[in-house]
């Protein structure tokens, strides 16, 4: 490994291609931590947004008008406002309203940090789309199937959990994938509220080391790889879970 770093250092001196974020231990360390933060952020947001989608779609089948209305307002608000402004709103406007805890340094700190707020805002944003995606899946489940489950004496939640949802997820998986890929890409916006994810760290490095082009190329390569791996995994899942008898 050291030989490689030496080679890159030589490349910098001899050809002016500044890959300092690889060969310098400090920069490499923070870049790797940034990548790890991005992966963590994406994974947690994906999990939460799916949960929101499932619960939201379930609430929409409810007979309570208030509940349905609340879900409607939630969806319309998050779908029709910019995710970046939402993030600022959450972090700077709502954040300080949270109860404070005194941290180890004697400073009272709001309960959630920037990572948590990024998770909340991104999950709610993607969740609004997921609710609609799941709902379209639920609606596509054939009435006869639900009636059959009903006649077997299953409760409404049981029907949703064991019959409708498994079918619905399979039907709406392509749309869901699309939204989740978008969510993974939208994690870059956490940059704005100082979550040390990949873009944040990269911009720190290119400001300090003035190697914008090299850093950009590295950054794009990383995101293409990340999204590529995710898309590949999801396409496999899609194929495995395909409902027989639908589509070509």
């Amino acid at each position: 490994m050291d030989a490689l770093w030496d080679l890159l250092r030589h490349v910098h001196d001899a050809y002016g291609v500044n890959l300092v974020h690889f060969y310098d231990g400090f920069e490499r360390g923070r870049l790797l931590r940034g990548i790890w933060t991005t992966v963590k952020l994406a994974a947690v947001c994906i999990a939460f947004s799916i949960l929101i989608g499932i619960v939201g779609a379930w609430l929409q089948t409810s007979r309570q008008r208030i509940l349905k209305a609340a879900v409607k307002v939630y969806i319309q608000f998050f779908r029709n406002t910019p995710p970046l402004v939402q993030m600022y709103f959450f972090y700077f406007a709502l954040g300080p309203q949270m109860p404070r805890v005194v941290n180890d340094f004697g400073v009272p700190q709001p309960m959630f940090g920037s990572f948590e707020w990024a998770v909340l805002s991104l999950s709610f944003f993607a969740g609004a789309f997921n609710v609609e995606i799941f709902r379209s899946g639920v609606e596509a489940v054939q009435k006869a199937t639900v009636e059959a489950a009903d006649s077997l004496g299953l409760s409404r939640w049981q029907i949703y959990r064991y019959v409708v949802l498994p079918l619905a997820v399979r039907i709406c998986l392509p749309a869901l994938n699309n939204n989740l890929v978008n969510l993974a890409k939208t994690t870059t916006q956490a940059y704005a509220i100082a979550v040390p994810e990949t873009l944040f760290v990269a911009s720190q490095i290119w400001s300090d080391r003035i190697n914008v082009l090299e850093m950009m190329v590295t950054l794009l390569t990383f995101y293409l790889l990340l999204v590529g791996v995710f898309v590949w995994a999801m396409t496999r899942l899609e194929r495995r879970l395909r409902v027989p008898g639908f589509g070509q």
Binding site: P96, R100, G106, V107, Q109, P110, A194, Q204, S207, D208
Partner: protein
Amino acid sequence: MKRLFATLLACMAGAVISAGPALADQMAIIKKKGVLVVGVKTDYPPWGTRDASGAIVGMEPEMAADVAKRLGVKLELLPVVSSNRMQFLQQGQIDLMIATMSDTPERRKVVGIVDPVYYASGVAILANKKANIKSAADLKGKPVCALQGAFYNNDLQSKYTGQDLVAFKGVTEAQQALIDGRCVGFVYDDVVLVWQKAQESKWGDFEVVQLNEWAPVPWGLAVKIEELNGPWGKFMADVTADWLKSGTLLALEKKWVGSNTPWLVDATAKAKK
């Protein structure tokens, strides 16, 4: 349609490649187009800020206006932030940068920093009194707010805090984060922190602690690096020298900041000799 697209692509490719050196003699170009474009800050009161009408005002915009007056051209102020100001100058989006930029050897390799320099500031932290910060060594393992693109960020993180800084694009966000308790202190230029603390009663629970780990660093106005030794760079060097000699900068500092910093008083005295 296809041809149009091909042309478009070729243009884009060409644009990326031809980003290198531009034409010589910026001075003649500025005079010819009749407009001087200066990059200034809008989030750095009282050196550069917006008023409610949207106009950019402050000490540095006023310096920029003086340059335009001397050239007999119109002035256009373009807002820049720390993380993009040097690129803006390199790409030629601005003719001149007066954007509170500290003078460092690395930066001198990228942009043409004009001598003499016009201002200076040290590094300080606006810290929560409860955190009991006395020097940079006390910052170990603590969340510290900062501004993206500041020259001391790298040192601060690698030598002192040992963890990622809570760095924002603008001063507003960093200050808000400090008030909200997201960090123990906001590391920034001492002159600003002192001024801010004096302005606002909301900083009652905070104190400005000078971080002597970093010596005071001059602020330089900058032109494109190719222009530094050309007519444009020389012109700006003369203008800055005159500002110091005539006491213009002292007067401007008094007007906007309210008091004079020892560095500027010294620099003016030296220039007069």
